[in-house]
Every structure is written in structure tokens, then in C-alpha cells.
Subunit: 473 residues, 2 copies
Amino acid sequence: MSKLVTKITDRDTDFAQWYTDILREADLVAYSSVKGSMIIRPYGYAIWERMQNILDKEFKRTGHQNVQMPMFIPESLLNIEKEHVKGFAPEVAWVTYGGENKLEERICVRPTSEVLFCDHYKDIIKSYRDLPILYNQWCTIVRWEKTTRPFLRSREILWQEGHTMHATAEEAKEETLRMFKIYEDFQRNILALPVITGKKTEKEKFAGAEETYTLEAMMYDGVALQNGTSHYFGNHFAKAFGIEYLDTDNKLKTPYQTSWGVATRMIGAIIMTHGDNHGLVLPPNIAPMKVVFIPIGKDEKVLDTINDITKSLKEDITYQIDTSDKTPGFKFADAEVKGIPIRVEVGMRDLEQNKVTLVRRDTLEKIPVDIENVSQEIEKLLPQIQQDMYDRALKRRDSMIYEATDYETFKKETKEKNGFYKINWCGETACEDKIKEDTGLKSRCLIEGEKITGPCLVCGKDAKHRLYVGKQY
Amino acid sequence: MSKLVTKITDRDTDFAQWYTDILREADLVAYSSVKGSMIIRPYGYAIWERMQNILDKEFKRTGHQNVQMPMFIPESLLNIEKEHVKGFAPEVAWVTYGGENKLEERICVRPTSEVLFCDHYKDIIKSYRDLPILYNQWCTIVRWEKTTRPFLRSREILWQEGHTMHATAEEAKEETLRMFKIYEDFQRNILALPVITGKKTEKEKFAGAEETYTLEAMMYDGVALQNGTSHYFGNHFAKAFGIEYLDTDNKLKTPYQTSWGVATRMIGAIIMTHGDNHGLVLPPNIAPMKVVFIPIGKDEKVLDTINDITKSLKEDITYQIDTSDKTPGFKFADAEVKGIPIRVEVGMRDLEQNKVTLVRRDTLEKIPVDIENVSQEIEKLLPQIQQDMYDRALKRRDSMIYEATDYETFKKETKEKNGFYKINWCGETACEDKIKEDTGLKSRCLIEGEKITGPCLVCGKDAKHRLYVGKQY
């Protein structure tokens, strides 16, 4: 790919432009003639493939099976569950013609697939022996967003959606939390995202769900990114669709349902949590390439040394050797903008002293290493980088969590600084609405395990919950 | 899943119903409320995942990268290449509304993505250094078919589509044939399909292509299934889209293009080539589970023996142990209908003689084996089954290839028996049209390496080609 000198706007000057610059310079996405849709380029897609591989193994390990549902939903099917259709109908893409022929009933491209799964469950669930049903699908969904940004909010979204059915409410609730925990572990340990987790308020929960658990990641600019959700539905979808099973006691019962999903949005979270003015910074555990070797000069010994080092690397340490005809300076910049965790510079001057130079992408620190220790050092450094990235993100996140106790001060503060505000809350939607109106902030999630420290921030009545509020992408 | 006694229509009595019965009884697909779309159930999807894994490795081995293009094509973009739009516009699904708002320009769901890739190539191809571009995507496409059958012809198709750009026509032609060969090897060696391969005629080639190479599989009933294609486009798409690169000689040139794809249709080909009256028969190399162990009776020694055997199996021999509370008879039938290549029956009566019984799914032959030899026997038997399935399919295919030399006889014969008819052909579309009109048969592909044996079967003029014609799914 032809490329000019990397040009990335300063992160603190214009964060939105910085984000767009990284998308372009790191070859993650490209824009297309299709408004609101993006092209995911090979490097961006490789990150998604790695996410898929890791999560898919976790889903299968916990007994889930992949299936594929239709991508279309007839309007009448979407209409069956009232809350659900209210939430989604305003933002679906409607197909009205097949070739030259007007369709008798218009169909939408799935914005999510609860109704399709329920329509299928109605046919395949007959007996307690058929439960639980633990299905997942990897697919594309469409939501007709007005303003779009690649990975954060686009009309077309690559994601996975798990949909499960259980004999009892307890089992369904356990499943909701099991998958939520898998997401949390994945985002913390693989993506190095110190996500805040908790339950959504009534107002913010998924259309049709009884309970929605959310992963809230805080971006560099203090704005929240909802980065995955797990829903418990109770049995009202099942009731609306007439799904019943014959239990061991020979009685017909209605099963309980969950759904859960994460999307390519996670790539956006990585960029906006870890990226810097030099480009993307990828946590080693998710990087498609963990190491890049850059030969300096054309001496045979340089390439020989690189080949020797790569032979001694453990198999799971993916690497590339940049032998293109660009200058070393260009290659350094390219490795930096793509966020490859470790760059190994190998040149004759170092080799004469039996050394090569390792460069950590996260800190840009240069580490001279004796040749015989390189693979060992790389193995040691990768988990260190992973941990350091998490720790830095956690520290930054915590520095932008504020306690709000006075509404007027809160209104003023939210204009001055982004972040998550902890508040005491009475539990009424009216107070959430007022916060939204006055500040643009929305509820992120309820805070578990913290004592209420005062009355409701908004109305002054008795508080029932501790709550995070914040701006969102 | 609750299941009654397996009920499969006799294959020779009603082949279409037999196919539908297998789809249902082997838990491959289910029908949905969405007309013309299917639900791919876990067992069917596991077969597709295995196809994806094997092919994706081959694509990557040959230097291809995965990307994701938008699923929508604006009408104006589809219109850019004239032949292409003529071929596809009559069968696309048109989105006309986003939420409540009528779109300014209608967009279709991609029926294939040449124009989307070209639209992107226009932006990223600048110099000879950018070539070749070797992209692939795994996705869903939509073609608004009037009559549909799961896996064979559905409105929604899961497939992969490779799209590549090259500096020269020669390189693009090489790529077209390279990927065609990968498909051929995959279908022969993994799917045990003795595909006939060759070039499509002008009339039958892909809309917009210069050359289309096709894999034609013959189904049990003698009807052809086009089971994958590879296209050489020349540079006229590139010209239509204004794609140019600066070559080493400092001149602007137009690159050359290919595309190639295979789909879930391959699952249909497996069913209709290898299936029998007991159900699906899966070639070992594509079966998600190669072996199923069925314990007979509740004696502890039975399960112990099974566990011992599985421990000595090589890692790539996937297996399951059916410990459900069904009867052995039910389990045998279930293993048969699902086409698991080897069933191992383990019961006390056999164990007392130090034996277990292996049952080959393809022949239903029962093979008593000493316990200590089981894993070895399984390892030997799997490639044998694979080879035997291929050989049988090949023999059957060859028994349904006929030579046609007299048009009236040909017309009469095609009414009596399906198969591939070899003919001599003048090369004129008019003669293909006449065959279609008189018999319903279409050209499958040109026959390479055979001498012309007479005049054109239809018009009697000098023949230029040997050609396969046949009915198609």
C-alpha cells in the first residue's frame, strides 16, 4: 500500500480527528460509497478474527453451539414482542422490493435476532430434555444510525449474539452472568480494558429485557463506551411466541431466556483507551502480530540473526519480518502506527556488540539486549506490556471518576470535565431524564457494593441506588 | 432435541422428498417464517465451520487476506458495470426505507461484491507496489430467487468471495486457475466429490466476467450442481471504475481482476452425492465428528473401555460418546442419519470376547475388532472410507455420462435419463438456446483435451468444442 508520512492529529487537541487519523494510518478501515458503512481492512479484520477465535473457544467450552439464522425479519414477526419492536422499529432498514416485485410484506434486516431465535425455539423446544438450548451466531446486523463513526456507531455491525433458553429463571440468570463474566475476563485480560460492570437502569436496559448487564469502558477523553451487554429476558418473549415445554412433572411450562453480544466496537475501545500520538497501541494478547523485526542495512548477518531469533521464539508469539524496500525510519513509523507491541531493530552497529534493540510500543522505551537473550526477553516483556497497559488504563480511568453530591456543582463540573460521576439516586426515571436534559449525561450502570452516601443528587429524596452517569459514544 | 423414529423417503422413489427428509432428520436446517431463507442448525453449521477452517487456511497460505465490505450497494454503484448490473439487478433485494425515512437512493443487499471491491480498489491502488491485492471475505449474500431449496438455491447464501487485482493479465489468469485448483482439490480430497471442471460458455459465464471456470458436481439423480466458480475479469471492471496504477516505467496502467467463490451449497452437494436411505453420509475429512461411541448397557466396564480407547486416539480424530438416556437402537439410527463415518458399538457381550464392533457408515459393514486394535483400526479405516466414497461417486458419475451424436436420439434420451451428455458443438449460443428449449438442459462446461468427434450436435455445422450439457439444480 502506498503511504505518505504518517500524520496523526494531537490526541489532546482534537480527539475525534485523532481517532479518525488512527483508523486511516493504521490501515484499520476505509470509507466507502455506502453511507454509514465501513470497509474493515485486513489489519482491522485480523484483530476481529483474533477476538472471534478467543471468544468462540470460550463459548464452545461453556457448551454453546453456533447456528445461522436468516438476516431478514418480516414486519409481523418483529411486531410480536411489544417493547422490543418499540425499541428497534425506528432504526431498521426495510426491504420492500425483491427484484422488480414489491413485497407483500416488508421485511427488515435484523437489528438483533431475538424474534428469529424465538420463532425457531417454538418449533424445536418440546420437552425438558430439549433444554437448555445454548446457541450463538456470528453475523452482521443493521441499525439505521443517523450519525456514524467506524467501530463505534455504524449502520452495519459485525458481532456475535448468544441466545439461550432454560427450564428455570435461576438457570437463565446464571447463564446471563456466566457470559457476562466471560466478556469481562476477555476485556480485562485480553484487551487490557478496565471495564466497569453492572446492571443497567430500567430506562437504559435493552428493549424487551428484564435485566441488562453492561460493560462500560472509559475512553481516553473520559467518555463511556458501552462495550457489550448480557440480557436476562424472563419468559415474556417465550410467552409472546407461545414457546412451551413438557416438564418432568408432565406439565407445560414456559422457558426462560437470555441473550448477550459483543461487537467490532471493541476495536474502537482499544484504540481510544490505549492509542497515543504515534498511533495504535495493541495489547499483546490481542495483537495479530506481537513482534516485528526490522533489519537495518543489507548485511547478510542482519537477516541471519533475525532468522535465528525467530527460530527460538515460542510458537504462539506471532511475528513478521519487514523486508520491504522502505527505509528503516519508515518501517519504525509503520510498526508504531500499527501498534505492534514489540519492535526489534537489528543492525550491524548493534550486532558488533552482540546486541539488538527491543522497542516497547507502549512506552517507546528502547532496550538493548544480548542476542542470545532476545527470545527470552520477548517472552518476558509481552506479559509485562499487557499488565502495564492495563494498569495505566485503570489509573487513568480512576482519575476520571468523580463523586457528585451537589447538583449545581455537578452540572458545572460536567461541562468542564468528562468522566464517570458517581451519584446517589432515588431510582426514578424522571431524575435520569433531568440529568440527561441538563448535562447530556446518561446512566452507565448501577454501582454494586457501595453504601448510599446521601439523598438523590437530583430530587433530594431518599436514594435507593449508587449510580454511574457519564457521557457516551 | 426430541425426535421420533427417523423417517426418510426412499431415494429412488422421490429424490426431492428424500433430500428434504435428510435435511430435517439429520438436524441440518430448519425452516423459518422468513420465506426463502433457512436456519442452519448446529450440526449443519459445524460442517460449514469445518469447510471454512480448511479453506481459510488455504487462502491464507496462498497470501490472501480477509476483509469485510459493506453489505449494501447503492443503485448507482451497481449500475457502473453494464453487463454485471444486467445479470444481477433482476434478483436483488432493495432497501428503500431507513427507519421511517425513505432513502434518497435505494440500496440493494449485495448479491456479490465486485463493485464494492472495485470502489475500494480505486482508493487504495496507486502504484505497482500495491499489487497484487489478494482479498477474501466470508459473508452472506442475497439473491431474490423465486423457488428455493435449502443449500441449493436460497435467498440468502453463506459463502466466501475472493477478489484480487494484478498488474498483468497473465498474473490474474494464474490466480483464477490457482484458486480454481484449490477448490478442486478441496472438493475431491475433502468432500470426496468427483467434480468435473472446465470453462463456462459465453452464455453461461458470470455477468461481467471474461472467463468463468466451474466445478460441476453430479448428484445421485444425475442432475448437475454448479459447486463453485472462479472468474477472470480482464480489466473492464477496472476501466469502468477508473482504477489505475503507476507502473515501474512511470506509465499509468489498468490492473487485471479475478473473483472466486464457494458456498454452503457444497453441503447440498455432499448430501446428494453420498447420502443413502439411512440418511446423510459424511466423508471423514469433512465430518465434524469422525467417530461416535455408543455404550450398550450400563456396565461400568463399557464406559471404561470407551474412555481407554478414546485416550489412544490421535488428536485429529474427533469423536463423541453418546451417553444420553436413549436406547442403543435410537442411538444407532441417530448416528446413521447424521452420517458419522464410524460408529463404535461397545457392549458386554462383545467385551467378554475382548471385542467391540465398528460400523462403517458408508457401507454399514460391521467389523468386530479386538479392543487393543481399535484406535489403530479407526485410523486405518477413516482414509479407506474417504477413498471408497470418492471411488463410488466417481463410478456412479461416469455411469451417467453419455455421448450424444444424434439430436433426435439425444432429445429422446434426455427425457428418459438424467446425466451429463457429451456433445460436439459449433460454439454458437443459438445452439445452446435450442438445446435448452428442446430438453431443458444447459451447458455445464467445455471439455478440454478431447478431440472433436463430429459436427455440431444441433446445427450440423463444423464443431469447435466438446461440451458437457445437463440438467442443473
